[in-house]
């Protein structure tokens, strides 16, 4: 389980401010959803938390370590404790499902090939994809890819799991199973989760707390019930849409 603190994070590209002093706190084992319209800065914030983008200002601490001033080599050490489930899964298309899921442990030689094969089998069973080890990403549907992406993110046993638009592009039934999987993953493994999404039904189903981001700034944070009762017109417009 990990703890995450985002303090005063700003990010600019050329003269355009994409994130404007974002503050967030995610407690151990909590599912925090960051919701907002397309282009509001959700994915940029997630990539900053993952260390894929360096913020212009502010600090991001994962288990007490500020990752903003870290070099790429130092980040590699921290990223072993962070998993990211990409919006379009980002599976390596030349590798099989088995090779994708077992990629991290095999590259880092933290387990024997036999132990990795066993781990892959168990992770695929956990995400409801048993027996797909030999398939290639091109043979999988959108929902299946996201499940394999989640299994791959779990292979390094992260304490912090980041989800980028986990239900976008999926039909409501499959989106529901992905929601269940996010909650089950937290319940079973105790991972701290940050879910970035604009899917309101999904957010209110899975989140312990919700943060609303608008135009690069967090404008309200609270439980799903609190956000439903919000008096902020921007939150209301989004929640009631």
């Amino acid at each position: 389980m990990s703890e995450l603190h985002v303090t005063g994070v700003s990010y600019a590209v050329s003269d355009r401010l994409i994130l404007k002093g974002v503050d967030l706190e995610v407690r151990q084992g909590e599912i925090l959803a960051v919701m907002g319209m397309s282009g509001s800065g959700k994915t940029t914030l997630l990539k900053c938390i993952a260390g894929l983008i360096k913020p212009s200002r502010g600090s991001i601490t994962v288990d007490g370590e500020d990752i903003v001033p870290m070099s790429e080599a130092q980040l590699d050490r921290v990223r072993l404790r962070i998993g990211l489930v990409f919006q379009y899964a980002a599976l390596f298309d030349s590798l099989t499902v088995q090779e994708n899921v077992g990629f991290g442990p095999l590259q880092h030689r933290t387990k024997t090939p036999e132990a990795v094969a066993e781990l892959v089998g168990s992770l695929l069973a956990d995400v409801g994809m048993p027996g797909t080890e030999r398939m290639l990403p091109a043979e999988l549907s959108g929902g299946m890819r996201k499940r394999v992406g989640l299994a791959r993110a779990l292979a390094n046993e992260p304490g912090l799991l980041l989800y980028d638009e986990p239900t976008s592009g999926l039909d409501p039934v499959i989106a529901r199973t992905i929601d269940d999987l996010i909650v089950e993953t937290r319940d079973r493994r105790g991972v701290t989760s940050v879910v970035v999404s604009h899917d309101i039904p999904s957010i209110f189903r899975i989140a312990d707390r919700v943060a609303m981001i608008d135009n690069g700034a967090i404008i309200e944070t609270g439980t799903p019930a609190e956000l439903r009762r919000s008096s902020d017109s921007r939150v209301r417009a989004f929640v009631d849409a």
């Binding site: 260390g51 894929l52 590699d76 991290g104």
Partner: protein, 250 residues
């Protein structure tokens, strides 16, 4: 400014790849796979183009030399042309067009589909996983490609020269008289540099891909154009440097 940035970035990339290679931090399996994809699979097309070029060269050279009583020079001239210049350069151009383009497109697609970010998230540096094996594979395979280019070009020249009244024995004797092992080695030395240039430029263009599918196409085109330009420009300087080096050894 753009040129300085490009030179700086490619030099850093080459340095990082070299440092990882020296420390043995790369996948041998991936390197062998790339040696097959970038080198072995390029050999047929290299041989075809070089055989055709050798034939055309012999067509013009043999015609003139035989007319002026110089048929004893045909084989040597064609061999020297290929060993010193045409073999390495044509092999480089073909590898840049075929394998360099493939590398830029593959890595570019990985960038736009976030597979590079996925590598970073799993704490696997893209330079270690993607660049080092490709750079090593290209450097190791280019001399072999150059050797096949030389053989195919000379063979093409031999076949064409025989239709102009130059016998096979006269052609081979001319090669033995005029060309030396040093000429072969000078040409192969060039291919090492071409291999490094092709792999580093292609990987750099791929890693700097932006803006989706259009960006992948643009990166691929830039990679081929830059590699071909660098091959021709660096060939000029390498030719001067290598002949200067051999002259000082004499």
């Amino acid at each position: 400014m753009v040129a300085a940035t490009f030179v700086g970035e490619t030099s850093i990339l080459a340095g990082q790849a070299a440092w990882l290679a020296v420390r043995g931090k790369f996948s041998l399996r991936e390197t062998i796979r790339q040696m097959a994809a970038m080198g072995v699979d390029s050999i047929p097309i290299i041989m075809l183009t070089c055989a055709a070029t050798g034939s055309v060269l012999a067509f013009y050279v043999a015609d003139v030399l035989v007319r002026f009583g110089g048929s004893g020079f045909v084989g040597g001239m064609i061999a020297l042309s290929f060993l010193l210049e045409l073999g390495p350069v044509l092999a480089g151009v073909m590898v840049a067009a075929r394998s360099g383009a493939a590398v830029a497109a593959e890595i570019g697609s990985m960038v736009v589909t976030e597979q590079i970010d996925a590598l970073r998230m799993m704490s696997v540096p893209p330079v270690r996983y993607l660049v080092t094996p490709r750079v090593l594979a290209c450097i190791l395979m280019m001399p072999i490609c150059g050797l096949f280019a030389d053989m195919a070009g000379i063979f093409g020249g031999l076949v064409m020269a025989s239709t102009h009244g130059v016998t096979q024995s006269a052609f081979m004797e001319s090669i033995r008289t005029m060309a030396t092992h040093a000429d072969l080695m000078k040409g192969l030395a060039k291919t090492l540099w071409f291999g490094l240039t092709i792999a580093v430029v292609a990987c750099h263009q791929g890693l700097n891909t932006q803006r989706g599918a259009t960006g992948v196409g643009a990166a691929t085109t830039r990679s081929v154009v830059l590699c071909v330009v660098f091959i021709f420009v660096s060939d000029f300087f390498l030719a001067q440097a290598l002949s200067g080096a051999s002259a000082s050894m004499r």
